[in-house]
Point group: C2
Chain length 246, copies 2
DNA sequence: GTGGAGCACTTGTCTGAACAAGTTGGCCTC
DNA sequence: GAGGCCAACTTGTTCAGACAAGTGCTCCAC
């Protein structure tokens, strides 16, 4: 936390948390906040823009900003790492590799991961749990250039993301997620301890490095009684988009 | 489209669409863009910040911005209105009210919609389709102050959002969405023309006005073979958050 | 050739100022 | 009392400049 605008954003978040500003109430004007924190109006605007993007407050020209949400659905709960997310919630994440094998990249793999023809990719089927309960089945395909580092990670490593960061310095920086629902197959049902045909929440995602290079793509299936997703959107900020089947 | 920074954002979007900048390539430096469009660096930064939030480009201090995604998953495809979204995709939206009735607000209704005890709310069950195929079943509860306007809308109105805007000037400005999966019940199955227990994608949402006042909350169930959702997130921008069951 | 130092380049942060545009509430008129 | 107009307030847009901080490349020494 170096930047002044981040400090101010955090101070405002805490104030909302503390209910200094309750849901539905109005935030002070920018000029007042600028004076209070001893910064220029631009810096305050940067701070409140962050909160607006997070969905905590609403903003429109001419009117004072309004507090939209109170409970801080821990937005630092990173989507990047299952283990980091679990720890942030005070839960313990477990992970276990079920199967792991090398295959030649299919046409779909090559498109999603920007690979050359004939590249060898690593397919990993991993079961993940929260406090001992299985909640997520991941079918992940890793790009050829990162697969060797993934291959030798022990089967019960709780955080692959952290492990890759420590070993190779790799950071998962961007992700594209497509969400739908599927019926559990026989394998899914057995591993997740649900009945066959019971509904699962599916997230297909592609993760890329800071440079924009795809690292992995994955078909993740969650037990919907254990995990859900939440998105905030506003008139000027459409993070979530509806899609039709291709 | 009045603001200069929006024009520049749109110009850059089109350039990425046209593949003037291909996926993985680098965007010109801010100073060069500023010179090209005859604006200050701050205005360019506002434009590229928009594209960064949309997930089209990646940004990090010291390095040139990189193009992350090419295909413009029409991000103006509003999440606010099913009908507007369908039209933007060149599809025809239909809607039909199945049941509609007044009830006294439950405790849950009062919390979600910020209502006083004893308020009367309107429950509407609405089936929506794309090009004649049923794809979405909406169970919506409208706040007492807007329900009278909703009550008299004809049963087959294709766009309730548009209708409320025309009739009352109401704008749906903010939304909080929680996404999971459920098995189709008997009623769901019959109306959506799927087998009972087949998986449905469920979105529970609360919509508010520009002033931050809740208008409606809804349990929407989509046929996952027809509709999915997509979200982009990045290291500094977590629109999507994972949640555990309460 | 390998590693490190250094440098040019690029993005991030912040200021202070000015004007545009939308909102809100009060006042005045009819 | 109802309606409309206006003025104060507040957020949105844009500018020009300065410095901080991270990246990536070249070049040099070993």
């Amino acid at each position: 936390m170096a930047a002044r605008h981040e400090e101010i954003a955090e101070a405002l978040r805490r104030a909302i948390d503390r209910e200094d500003y309750t849901v539905g109430s109005l935030l002070p004007p920018e000029t007042e906040l600028a004076a209070r924190y001893g910064v220029s109006r631009g810096t305050v605007r940067q701070a409140v823009a962050t909160l607006t993007a997070e969905g905590l407050i609403g903003s429109r020209q001419g009117a004072r900003r309004v507090v939209l949400a109170g409970r801080r659905s821990q937005s630092f709960a990173e989507l990047r790492s299952f283990a980091q997310w679990a720890r942030a919630m005070g839960r313990e994440a477990t992970g276990r590799v079920i199967t792991q094998e090398w295959r030649t990249a299919t046409a779909e793999d090559r498109v999603r991961l920007q690979l050359d023809p004939g590249a060898r990719v690593l397919h990993v089927l991993r079961l993940r749990g929260l406090d001992g309960q299985p909640v997520l089945l991941e079918r992940t395909v890793y790009a050829d250039w990162i697969s060797p580092a993934v291959e030798h990670i022990e089967a019960d490593c709780p955080s692959v993301t952290q492990r890759l960061l420590d070993d190779t310095g790799l950071v998962f920086a961007y992700g594209e997620h497509v969400i739908d629902a599927v019926a559990a197959g026989a394998r899914d049902a057995e591993l997740l301890a649900v009945r066959r045909t019971s509904p699962l929440l599916r997230v297909r995602r592609v993760t890329t490095t800071r440079e924009g290079r795809p690292v992995e793509w994955s078909d993740d299936r969650y037990r919907p009684d254990a995990v859900s997703f939440s998105v905030h959107n506003s008139i000027g900020n459409n993070a979530l988009a509806r899609k039709t089947a291709e």
